[in-house]
Homo-oligomer: 195 residues x 2
DNA sequence: GGACTGACAGATTTCAAATTTTGTCAGCAA
DNA sequence: TTGCTGACAAAATTTGAAATCTGTCAGTCC
């Protein structure tokens, strides 16, 4: 590196590059150091272990995913709910289809750090919860517990956002199946007139 | 083998044994032949390939799973639906917890033959469809298309029956999450009074 | 004749040696 | 003093030669 000081950000960027190039199995700390033109000992000055470095890359990547979903526009809760779920599914599917290898790399990384993934899921369920709570407020949805309902919606759509199911996302029937599940979930959530 | 003739059933049983003992990575056709006291050429007399033999074992295993679910007793559709889903989840979870290695073995086998698994899923969705259709008949459920509704219920519960999620089944919260998803799905399916 | 064997070629897997990587740290350089 | 280097031990990975396995088939046995 031409810069005088080696920063955490530089290392993260280089690590991301190396992971993209060599994949999760072959990317080494030495590779990262070489890409930066420093010794690998320097990398250990900023990250306590290879695992910590990878975790930081994973964290960064997942945080970018949050951002895209937080911007679903206001409106009727059923519409927002469907838009949010659709955005999540569409974004994930686009990533696999655009660059399967990179997606596979990040799937491996995510699988390595259960704490990072748990926080990410919490964040996503939190976004869903907000939509559900707003819907209840507006009298559009009915549920005893917005948080657990949000979690149920997230769990019920696992097939459409969990990387473990990525291979199924190229099935031509997947869109219809996604819509069917959405319909069912929203139907289960909307407030029905009491007889 | 002490018997005069080598049968397909004997080979299947031996193959099952060998797979259980050595796991999917190490179980060989030679092992199966050795277990039967015959040359491996004899095995190829009954099965065209190692893959076909494994597929037959997989098929047999999945067929046993069908049987247990087909016996859900009659009653109100929401009750039957929950009972069926609960039976599927409970049976799968019991298998992982009782013998994780054997479950892993069969998960690998199932992953190898997409046609066998597709037929199995079709069978399961068929059982669900029957319950849904009966519920519509009784005026308990409302849906435009029983088949697609059944499929949606199956897809929405993937986290509770797909082996890809087996690691999550030992989470203490999983039962509550399963119930929450069931509640939501059944609520989406039951016939509501028109306002 | 029909069921089985065993030798064979090519593909795959195994195992141990050689290399590489991880993580540490005393020392160097600015 | 702060940040980096490079040598080092232990752990992990790669390599390639040897062993094993898959699938075939001419031949044996009843």
């Amino acid at each position: 590196m031409s810069d005088g000081v080696l920063t955490r950000e530089q290392i993260l960027a280089a690590a991301q590059d190396v992971l993209r190039r060599y994949g999760p199995a072959k990317a080494t700390v030495v590779d990262v150091a070489r890409a930066l033109g420093v010794s690998h000992g320097s990398v250990y000055r900023h990250f306590p272990s290879k695992a910590a470095l990878r975790e930081a890359v994973t964290h960064q990547w997942l945080e970018q995913s949050h951002a895209a979903l937080a911007v679903i526009p206001d409106g009727p809760a059923p519409v927002r709910l469907r838009a949010w779920l659709s955005a999540l599914f569409t974004a994930k599917r686009k990533k696999v289809l655009d660059d399967p290898e990179l997606f596979a790399t990040y799937t491996v990384l995510v699988g390595e750090s259960s704490t990072v993934i748990a926080a990410h899921i919490d964040e996503l369920v939190g976004q869903l919860e907000e939509i559900v709570a707003a819907g209840v407020e507006r009298g559009e949805l009915a549920t005893a517990d917005a948080r657990s309902a949000a979690r149920a919606v997230f769990d019920a759509t696992a097939r459409f956002h969990d990387p473990a199911h990525a291979a199924e996302w190229s099935d031509p029937a997947i869109d219809a199946q996604f819509e069917a599940v959405c319909d069912l979930l929203i139907s289960g959530l909307v407030r029905h007139a009491r007889p």
